[in-house]
Symmetry: C2
């Protein structure tokens, strides 16, 4: 009879496998990674890994789902720590700017860029995109609800624009050499847009 | 003795091969395309195609180089047709928005997104990025030189931001379903940023 395995143990094994998969994806890229690569990196048996995930596609989805939950928590946390939503946005932008480049962002990009010719993956991206946008909409809408933002464009438009710019900056930083000043300048351009479109008065802010 | 082949004939054959390659790339994606696919699509002999290009990588580079020359001509042409550079920018943005989706934009994206793990290709992207940015800088700088723009951020920052946003919109349109209004709104957001940062007075413009 197989020994009883605790729920914690199962979760820990799952997390270990996903961590190993993430490391291999970041080294080789998603498409070139095989199940054997992940098995080797995990230090577990082949059967042990397959018990949790049948292929790398499922591993990638699980990592992305976990990341999405974390992203939502992160935004909620920012909003609960800052009365001024503009400060929350700035902290978010700073974290994005200073995020250590572990390559996982660009791995995710590479995974999704094939969607135009991979319909099943495209459906998943569509779902993920809608969720991500909705989190950003809620984030900005909180500033409107708190009477701090007076947007000159619809909040959903601003949220999409912000997400597009941030995704682009991640891509740019992964693919071309930008020095720190160039990087800083691009985030400033985003802040310039947001400050104008949300009608932020920085002087008023400082009194908070 | 081989018959003499005119320069025009050589150029035409080269163009035909690249057109066939482009069509296959747009259907299958760059990475999955083999030389055999291109030979079949071109209707030429294997030897005939290899005489011009040793591999699909060289074909892709040639298509991208031709596109870069075209891009530069296109911007120059816009500037010579519009006294008001703001109108030239708007025409450029409209063309970008209404460009027929032949998938080649997203194919190019997919080609470059692997740069983080393909160093030789990364060098090429760096070179291409610098050229593209410089064309955009010249484009915007013309408006400054003509006394029409009073930029609140450095022109190079604005040019990079504009390129980042436009590339992101191309990617978004290829990967997720945006309706026409959502698409229009995103271009409006870019115009909002540019109008503010360049200090464009639309009312003054209309008198042109």
């Amino acid at each position: 009879m197989a020994p009883k395995v605790s729920k914690e143990h199962i979760n820990q094994r799952r997390a270990d496998i996903l961590e190993a998969a993430k490391q291999v994806f970041c080294k080789k890229g998603f498409e070139p990674t095989t199940m054997k690569d992940v098995v080797d990196a995990s230090g577990m048996s082949r059967g042990g890994v397959y018990q949790y995930f049948p292929n790398t596609e499922e591993m990638m989805r699980a990592i992305l789902e976990d990341g999405m939950i974390e992203f939502n928590h992160h935004l909620s946390n920012l909003l609960s720590r800052h009365e001024q939503v503009w400060h929350a946005i700035n902290e978010y932008i700073d974290l994005h700017k200073n995020a250590p480049s572990d390559h996982f962002g660009i791995v995710t990009y590479e995974y999704f860029v094939t969607c135009w010719r991979n319909h099943e993956r495209r459906n998943y991206l569509q779902h993920r995109y809608s969720f991500g946008i909705n989190y950003f909409i809620q984030f900005i809408q909180t500033g409107v609800d708190r009477g701090q933002f007076k947007p000159l464009q619809p909040v959903s438009v601003i949220a999409k624009f912000m997400m597009n710019v941030l995704d682009g900056l991640l891509l740019e930083q992964s693919l071309v050499n930008l020095n720190d000043q160039e990087k800083e300048d691009q985030y400033d351009a985003l802040r310039f847009y947001l400050r104008t479109v949300l009608q932020i008065n920085d002087k008023r802010m400082q009194k908070e």
